[in-house]
Amino acid sequence: MIAILLEPFTYSYMVKAIWVCALVGGVCAFLSSYLMLKGWSLMGDALAHSIVPGVALAYLLALPYAIGALFAGLLAAFSMVVVKQKTNLREDAIIGLVFTCFFAIGLLLVSINPTSVNIQAIILGNILAISVYDIWQIVIISTICLIALCLKWKDLMAVFFDENHARSIGLPVNMLKILFFTLLSAACVAALQTVGACLVIAMVITPGATAYLMTDKFNCLIMIAVVLGSITSGTGAYLSYFLDVNPGGLIVTLQTLIFMGVFMFAPKYGLLKRKAAGHG
């Protein structure tokens, strides 16, 4: 029995997949604690889709994929700002418009040159066959994100809860927002490798939202989210060995199941508790 359970750990590609997933899951979960507070969830999805052409181009030109992704992400953000300034269109329409166009550019690039880019790996993740080179990029990105977040988590919290208050106590609000979105894009780039472009949004929302239903203290919320994010990601990668399914899909399915469980049974904000208290 134990031998079977430990079997995945005898393969180095599984060990790599599990710890890389857990690392990325933790970083994304940290960011998710903030992102779901503000109503910016669409940004996570948009960033993940917008970087696809950058990644495709980087693979075509044999550059590090993080550079292509960063470039495409910046270009997408810039386009959104330009369209926003020039029109009265709703923000969600602008975001949707820009990210789908970028995604289409990515697909077009791939369809011109189908052999050199594995589109399935970009869209659905490729953690089981990840190269050492890509692992290094993920580790560097994650470490930088974690350090920045650990140093600035309180300032970011102030900005996300009450911008005016943050401004009045002298915090550089705009700089902190830019910092946050830079970290978010970096995390999306890392998560792209583990769960793929379509599921990055779950990694940067679900753990935070789950934790939000469990606690009122923000530092607890971050802790719960990070623990949930890394455990579900590591477990998802581990279980994918036995179930023989796409690891990204399994990770996000696990995260969603846990969210549903917490939604039902959470001590204070769960559905059952609220129904019992008469305001559900």
């Binding site: 779901m36 269109l89 969600d92 418009l97 166009c101 289409a104 599921l199 399915t253 969603t256």
Partner: protein
């Protein structure tokens, strides 16, 4: 020029592809006008991703894929409404959680079971591989949706533009709300085969956004959206045949080009104000 257009039409699959793209151009462009006004872009995103498990389950149960996809899309919209009412998580986060969860579950199912649902075709569309049956199935859904939306356009427009006002003048808000959700799911289901679940979002936003920038009257917005969408779909299908690239992304990029033209050469920034004076 004429040869350029006529040459692809000598092939039967190209004729089918062209007919299919014309049909989805019509239905998507009409819906996009409502979507852009209502601010439901994320809802379009959510419902389109959420149809994936429906396709897989429909295959297992043995019912038509379109029905499975429709039920899954509608389930996603209802689940979002329910979770939003019953938890303190914000609506956009709830949407993200629900649709990504459903997409992930669909992905797990599709990698686990043997189906004839080709994952990449579902994701990116495969308009050149449309069969006659697909065309009839998707085409009739698209025509039905388009007719309903055109007949009910004034009520839907008022609801999208200002639901409080629509309620004051006695329109059935809940019926309109769920009607619009059902139309959204049906529109997406009809466009799946041709555009795929990711690019359909572009088809559902871009034409309406182009119309929004160029006119202040809702009926004109509909006409412009329709024209832009038809042009992009026909041009995209024909050009993709000649330069041998994927069709759906090319259509989306032509739409994006039209949007950029509208952005820089349109006189108006798009005001929603004049829209109230619908004829």
């Amino acid at each position: 020029m004429i040869a350029f257009i006529m040459e692809p039409l000598a092939h039967e699959f190209m004729l089918r592809a062209l007919l299919m793209s014309v049909l989805i151009a019509i239905v998507c462009s009409i819906f996009s006008c409502f979507l852009v006004l209502k601010g439901w872009s994320l809802m379009g995103d959510a419902v389109s991703h959420a149809v994936l498990p429906g396709l897989a389950l429909a295959f297992i149960v043995g019912i038509p894929l379109a029905i499975g996809a429709f039920i899954a899309g509608l389930f996603c919209a209802l689940a979002i409404g329910y979770l939003k009412e019953n938890s303190r998580v914000k609506e956009d986060a709830v949407m993200g959680i629900v649709f990504s969860g459903m997409f992930a579950f669909g992905l797990v199912l599709l990698t686990k079971i043997e189906t004839d649902v080709h994952l990449l075709h579902v994701l990116f569309g495969n308009v050149l591989g449309i069969s006659e049956r697909d065309l009839i199935e998707a085409g009739s859904i698209a025509i039905l949706c388009a007719i309903i939306m055109l007949i009910k356009r004034k009520d839907l427009m008022l609801y999208c533009f200002d639901s409080a006002y629509a309620s004051v003048i006695g329109l059935p808000i809940r019926v309109l709300h769920f009607g619009l959700l059902i139309l959204l799911a049906l529109t997406i289901v009809s466009s799946l085969k041709a555009a795929g679940i990711i690019l359909v979002i572009a088809m559902l936003i871009a034409p309406g956004a182009i119309g929004f920038l160029l006119t202040n009257s809702f009926d004109n917005m509909l006409m412009i959206a329709l024209a832009a969408s038809l042009f992009s779909c026909i041009a995209g299908t024909i050009v993709s045949f000649h330069i041998d690239v994927a069709t759906a992304p090319l259509i989306v990029l032509i739409q994006a080009g039209l949007f950029i033209l509208a952005l820089f050469f349109g006189k108006s920034r798009g005001t929603a104000k004049g829209l109230q004076n619908v004829s």
